[in-house]
């Protein structure tokens, strides 16, 4: 009889971490988009077959770009509070991500948040861009070496055209 008592106790103990994880909510790209949807009462349009597109992008760029996630949210009823949005994203994005750039323009209700995360030899980028009543959320994993080579191609092209400054 005593042994049988331990069975429900063990099941209960096993369920606790599951419940805690479920209660904590999903993080990462989906977690951020879900939070934005629920917080601002909007609907995000996710690009269909993005997994396939991401795979094609990865192959066509020779592993340069991958893990592509895109969501578009339209019809923001009111202006977005930059601090609030920033806090929401930081909370949901998860560990390892650091915000490197934030641009705010009150005139057109524009907000840009760029987060970065080292992913081994690759770099994770998470971008949120709000322009008036539209918000784009993009997550991508890039290979810095490939990206550098591609940027190099264009900057050399610019140099040949007599434009030396491509930083801005």
């Amino acid at each position: 009889m005593r042994k049988l008592i331990w069975i429900p106790i063990c099941i209960f103990a096993l369920l606790i971490p599951v419940a805690v994880l479920a209660g904590g909510g999903e993080g990462g790209f989906d977690g951020v988009v879900d939070s934005i949807e629920s917080h601002y009462h909007v609907h995000a349009t996710r690009i269909p077959f993005l997994g396939v597109i991401s795979l094609i992008a990865r192959k066509s760029t020779h592993e340069g770009v991958g893990n592509l996630h895109v969501a578009e949210i339209e019809n923001f009823g009111t202006g977005v509070d930059g601090d609030e949005l920033n806090q929401l994203v930081e909370q949901k994005l998860g560990s390892g991500w650091e915000r490197i750039i934030r641009e705010t323009s009150k005139k057109g209700g524009e907000q840009t948040l760029i987060f970065m995360r080292p992913e081994g030899q690759r770099m994770g980028l998470f971008v949120i861009d709000v322009d008036g009543h539209e918000m784009d959320v993009v997550q991508v994993s890039v290979d810095p070496d490939h990206l550098n080579e591609n940027i190099g191609k264009y900057s050399h092209h610019h140099d040949e055209d007599g434009e030396h400054d491509v930083s801005d």
Binding site: I101, T104, L147, N148
Partner: protein, 199 residues
């Protein structure tokens, strides 16, 4: 005896905390929050040591300039840039500028340039962090009637290396700062604090 040990631990902890605080990027001050609230456009660039080390991978080192920039970035502890654009003049006060400047009024931070132009109400401050005779950081505060820029770079850096960082987003103006410094060097103004106004 116990009191002595406790005092030693407390002292060591305080010193350690100070050392850490000095080499990490600051949190936005109350003044910066006030400025951000009034500005029409705000640009914030924050790169910690980890991210700088990682960003250095962008520079392949094949190009001579890239190699120099990569070496420089890998050695830095952090880059902190805040740029505030205002719709009209008078959106920020000189008291706010002074508060920002006071943050760096410590023995380690030495003023290199303090310039005030009365005609167009522009001020430029450049301070350098000196530790054991070595330059460990630069703070630049530039104010124009409708624009305010704060640049804080922590780590070993020289003025002549500033333009190397121009390729990083938001830091393009550093090349201009360096140019400005060179002009002032010709006028022999950088060796001491120089005020064109009444300060």
């Amino acid at each position: 005896m116990k009191k002595t040990i406790a005092a030693l631990i407390l002292g060591a902890a305080t010193l350690a905390a100070q050392a850490v605080a000095q080499d990490t990027l600051p949190l936005p001050s109350a003044v910066e929050k006030e400025l951000a609230a009034k500005a029409s456009d705000v640009t914030e660039v924050t790169l910690g040591k980890n991210m700088l080390g990682f960003a250095a991978k962008f520079m392949n080192g094949k190009d001579k300039d890239d190699a120099a920039a990569r070496q420089l970035i890998e050695g830095l502890d952090g880059i902190y840039v805040r740029e505030y654009d205002f719709d009209k003049e008078g959106e920020y006060s000189m008291e706010q500028i002074e508060q920002l400047r006071k943050t760096f009024e410590t023995p380690e931070w030495q003023p290199i340039v303090h310039e005030k132009e009365r005609k167009n109400s522009e001020t430029t401050d450049v301070l350098m962090k000196m530790v054991n005779g070595e330059n460990r950081g630069i703070f630049i505060l530039e104010s124009e009637p409708k624009e305010l820029t704060i640049v804080l770079i922590l780590g070993p850096i020289r003025m002549d290396q500033l333009s190397e960082l121009g390729g990083i987003g938001g830091l393009g103006s550093l090349a201009e700062v360096q140019k400005g410094m060179k002009v002032k060097e010709k006028g022999k103004l950088t060796d001491k604090v120089k005020t064109d106004g009444d300060q």
